[in-house]
Amino acid sequence: MGKGIDEPSLVAAAQRGDLDAFNELVLLYQDRVYNLAYRILGDPSAAEDATQEAFISAYRHLPTFRGGSFLSWLMRTVTNRCYDELRRQKRRPTVSWESFGEMDEEANPFLVNGHPTPEELAQQAELTQWLQGAIQTLPPDQRVVLVLSDVEGMNYQEIADAVGIPVGTVKSRLARARARLRDLLAARKELLPRAYRLEHEYAGKEARPGKDG
């Protein structure tokens, strides 16, 4: 992290039961951990709970930490907490894949404004919000892999280790997640800032007929 903090010695101290040392690690990584939880769960309070539980779980399981990257290990712990949470949520349905694509702006809870967005409004914020909602429509397995890869920047092997699946599975889940987002995006091109619009849009050819120019 390059903050002049000696991570290995903090980890070693925490492993000996030094809670203050562990709390320094918490302060160091809580943004990363919360961001991951939020992108996977899509809900601030659920992400908060998952973050807190992940740190508690990490502290308790510190004796099982056998060196390597502490951050990776921590991220794995958070991912597992998020998986638990998603399994709990499975009983109550989230936004479905179809309904999200069909939703107009008024009905879409992930859009701040129901009205056509003026250029000067923060288009990036809106897009981010839309993307966050789109990610939530992905099946949990694909969602987790996509967030670990494209939000956290992990490589296939790291994701495979974190989730406990083969690299080949990571590959196919990631491809399916990206393809779904692409199809969703093709129906909502007006959200894209001009700079992001593609010259030749492949997705446009497969998208529904009512596309704008």
Binding site: V33, I56, Q132, I135, R178, A179, L198, H200, Y202, A203
Partner: protein, 323 residues
């Protein structure tokens, strides 16, 4: 190509493109894909649309933690406390089952020591010790005797639960009928009789002639426990003896061997085989097949309790060690 097949091909293509974006293809795969991309505009457009998604997701600004997630000592120790709270209860349960196990074990050993020791070696009649005729199981034996007494008083045949060997059964019945019907029995009191001596030994010397049948029933009831073996060798012989003596000494009964046999035969209707030999040859007494059922069950119980105690002990040790 079917819809499903087409979809599968598209999925496979996306997989290649996705891996290509991540630089995760082998050099050979990459070369092949790039060759296809060079001549296929649709594939290029597909790649770009996918790459766009990746870029968009990567550029999502990270959210910051809304608060600090610092841990407090209570947060970290909570579940251990739960385990600790369970520890005393677990220890108590361990002690309880352990105690119960020991009590049962001792009880079983005592019971096995009496029943097994006497039952293993059939002693000659003359050397019959008194010890084997103590009640097999303390309070239960007494109870048996009580019920036996009650049975004797009402003079109804014992319930089928009491699986007295039939030969002995007939002996007991015979004695009952003889005592009822023969005042002349008094004549015989003085004469030392092989059966008499055996019986007095069996009954522990207690009880007069009137009590005798009750004692007999008691013995029968207890016999299930394993004393049958002891009684087996003598019971058929004295029967013969007795029948003869009755025949000679109680003329009022007109005791032809036939009537004697009738008397004997009536109560034992359930099993004609045991009395099919009127000559009184020793009939092998059938042993109860299940052996001593109650002690066996008790052993299983002891084993189960021991196992339970062990499991509880392990659990409580772990509960105490939890910090």
């Amino acid at each position: 190509m079917s819809m499903l097949g087409k979809k599968r091909v598209q999925e496979k293509t996306d997989e290649w493109l996705s891996a290509y974006i991540d630089g995760a293809l082998s050099p050979r795969e990459r070369a092949r894909l790039e060759a296809r991309l060079a001549e296929d505009a649709d594939l290029r457009a597909r790649l770009e649309s996918l790459r766009q998604v990746v870029v968009l997701v990567r550029e999502m600004p990270p959210v910051r933690a809304p608060r600090n997630f610092l841990l407090t000592p209570t947060m970290v120790q909570r579940p251990a406390r739960v385990a600790r709270r369970l520890a005393p209860a677990l220890t108590f349960a361990t002690a309880l089952t352990g105690l119960l196990c020991v009590i049962l074990l001792v009880g079983n050993l005592l019971a096995a020591g009496w029943g097994g020791g006497g039952g293993a070696v059939p002693l000659p009649m003359a050397e019959y010790p008194k010890a084997p005729h103590q009640p097999l199981r303390g309070p239960l034996g007494e109870k048996d005797q009580e019920t036996a007494m009650a049975l004797a008083n009402t003079e109804t045949p014992p319930s089928p639960v009491i699986e007295t060997p039939l030969a002995e059964w007939s002996l007991l019945e015979q004695t009952v009928t003889l005592e009822e019907a023969a005042p002349a029995r008094a004549l015989e009191e003085d004469a030392p009789h092989p059966l008499e001596s055996a019986e007095s030994a069996m009954g522990g010397g207690g009880g007069g002639p009137g009590l005798f049948p009750g004692e007999g029933y008691g013995e029968g009831a207890e016999g299930i426990g394993g004393e049958m073996e002891e009684q087996e060798p003598f019971s058929p012989e004295p029967r013969e003896d007795r029948v003869e003596s009755v025949a000679t000494l109680t003329p009022s009964l007109e005791p032809t061997p036939l009537t004697a046999e009738k008397i004997v035969a009536t109560p034992v209707t359930p099993s004609p085989t045991s009395l099919s030999k009127p000559d009184g040859t020793p009939i092998p007494v059938e042993q109860p097949e299940q052996g001593p059922p109650l002690p066996l069950l008790s052993w299983w119980l002891v084993g189960g309790l021991a196992l339970l105690t062990a499991v509880l002990a392990v659990l409580s040790v772990r509960a105490w060690r939890a910090e």
